[in-house]
């Protein structure tokens, strides 16, 4: 056997077969229930936003990879995942150009300026959403009622296309979609005026836990359906793509203070179930905070990280200027990851105190 025909590498010589594309595919698959629900709940505009955002993200990735001379520019599908995640955090009638700006921002400034996948400090989709929220507050906080894909109020495809691209319906009329605050927004504004939680969510607003569970409430595209998101999250844990540490600690981080304050003063602080089912908590806990690149690698670090995300979300929701704080909380906690990783090293074999 001549030396050149045998490959020499360091051990191990076998591999489990996991790959980054496989991880990305699995996460995208896990997002499918929530994505489908978003189209069912919000109709054609949701699909258009998803397509525009994802396509922009992938195109940006493609160009960047070409510039950097990398083969198979879209091979790992991470840009597609970022695009879908970003779309799911946008309001149902977000104009096309906001989607485009968001998609470009996520990939270009959220990822490539740091050196590409693996080097970014912040979750690209979330940093783009935060950027959009600060830059275009009006577009990012208008919440039309869910009209469904097939219902009577549902917009036709042409109307949807026109609405997203021009801001009015195909007939030239302005869309007469009824806008209303999200449950968290309603709570934020009304309780902020000194009224009780009951007054805010009851009465005309008529908040329903069942709707929040299935997803037929106001909110961003992919955040409303608790059941669809939970389904995807459990799938990810079962597939061992994510571990339980971050979701569980994030839920604990928000539900524990929520329970305490609710017991102390139920008229001012809503119950923990409300916090769990509304806003982007479940989307954030299963899909955003668990982003591998921007979360700690050590189990203890993940628990602290998750708890921090949950706690910050509760603080922002309850006392902050914005009604919803999941994005901000996760982005802030992203910044602590290097520190968390450094100080939460597991105890190495043979170095436990009982051994010394």
């Amino acid at each position: 056997m001549s030396p050149s025909s045998l490959l020499f590498t360091s051990s191990p010589h076998i591999h489990a077969g996991d790959s980054i594309p496989r991880i990305m595919h699995t996460v995208i698959l896990a997002l499918m229930p929530a994505t489908l629900m978003s189209v069912l709940i919000f109709g054609w505009p949701a699909l258009l936003i998803l397509v525009i955002t994802t396509a922009t993200a992938m195109l940006t990735e493609y160009l960047m990879m070409k510039i950097r001379n990398r083969p198979s520019p879209l091979g790992d599908m991470s840009a597609a995942l970022t695009g879908i995640l970003l779309a799911l955090t946008l309001p149902p009638h977000t104009p096309w150009w906001v989607c485009v700006v968001g998609g470009v921002f996520a990939i270009l400034l959220g990822k490539f300026v740091y050196g590409g996948l693996g080097f970014n400090m912040f979750n690209p989709a979330l940093i783009a959403r935060v950027f959009l929220l600060i830059s275009f507050p009006v577009e990012l906080t208008s919440w039309p009622q869910p009209t469904g894909l097939f219902g009577q109020q549902a917009l036709s495809f042409m109307d949807s296309l026109s609405l997203i691209t021009t801001g009015h319906l195909a007939s030239g009329k302005l869309a007469d979609a009824i806008s209303a605050a999200t449950p968290l927004g309603q709570y934020h504004v009304v309780v902020g005026m000194g009224k009780t939680v009951h007054e805010a969510l009851g009465g005309d607003y008529a908040f329903s836990y069942i709707s929040a569970f299935t997803g037929f409430i106001n909110g961003s595209l992919g955040e409303t359906s608790a059941i669809a998101l939970a389904l995807g999250g459990v799938y990810l844990i079962r597939k061992r793509i994510i571990s339980w540490h971050i979701p569980v600690s994030m839920f604990a981080g928000i539900l524990i203070p929520a329970t305490i304050f609710w017991i102390l003063n139920g008229s001012k602080y809503p119950d923990p179930l409300f916090h769990l089912l509304t806003g982007g908590l479940i989307l954030g806990a299963f899909f955003m905070a668990t982003d591998m690149v921007t979360s700690p690698v050590t189990p203890l670090g993940q628990i602290i990280f998750g708890a921090g995300c949950g706690l910050l979300t509760y603080i922002i929701r309850t006392w902050g200027g914005y009604p919803e704080g999941v994005s901000f909380a996760i982005v802030i906690m992203n910044a602590t990851v290097p520190l968390l990783d450094q100080y939460t090293h597991p105890v190495v074999y043979g170095k436990a105190k009982k051994n010394v």
């Binding site: 360091s10 990398r70 083969p71 104009p95 150009w97 830059s135 275009f136 801001g167």
Partner: protein
């Protein structure tokens, strides 16, 4: 929407124009030879040449009278010859780094004069008057101090061979 696009686009345009204008307006005319030399050097800025980087070395050659064009170890003979061609000077002898070396006494030629023993700064050469000397390889620092004094030129620098005991793993090469 239009306002947003216009304002952001305008801002970007203004900044871009400003930068472009500044680059032209405040452009400092460099010695073209420096640019030519810099282009030949490997741009690693490794500092092996004794200058803080590739451009400083180029400046030293072009402007400060540095005459040794063979200081760029990473570029090797190839780069040195290109520089020689560019400047129209003779190529110089270059020491190619081939790993660690030690002094070695060809014992059959050694006359036992102890000249090398006297100059060795770490007493790494052993031997007595009129007896062949030898270099203790583990102690030799490859300073070459012993080469000059030898009257019969029997000391040379030899490469330390890599064995299974001194071999080290290379760093994995990142392929994309």
């Amino acid at each position: 929407m239009i306002e947003a696009v216009l304002s952001m686009g305008g801002l970007a345009l203004a900044a871009g124009l400003g930068l472009g204008f500044a680059a032209k307006k405040f452009h400092v005319e460099g010695n073209p030879q420096v640019d030519n030399l810099t282009a030949l050097l490997p741009a690693t800025n490794c500092g092996n040449c004794g200058f803080p980087g590739c451009r400083p070395y180029a400046e030293a050659i072009a402007e400060q009278g540095e005459t040794n064009i063979g200081l760029c170890a990473p570029g090797g003979v190839e780069v040195m010859e290109k520089i020689a061609a560019l400047l129209g000077v003779e190529p110089v002898e270059m020491e190619v780094d081939t790993g660690p070396k030690v002094a070695f006494v060809r014992e059959e030629d050694c006359i036992g004069c102890t000249a090398c023993i006297k100059v060795c700064p770490v007493d790494a050469i052993i031997g007595a008057n009129k007896q062949s000397h030898t270099v203790v390889a583990e102690m030799c620092t490859a300073c070459k101090a012993c080469i000059e004094p030898c009257p019969v030129d029997c000391i040379e620098m030899v490469a330390v061979p890599t064995t299974v005991y001194s071999w080290t793993w290379n760093k994995p090469e990142v392929l994309h």
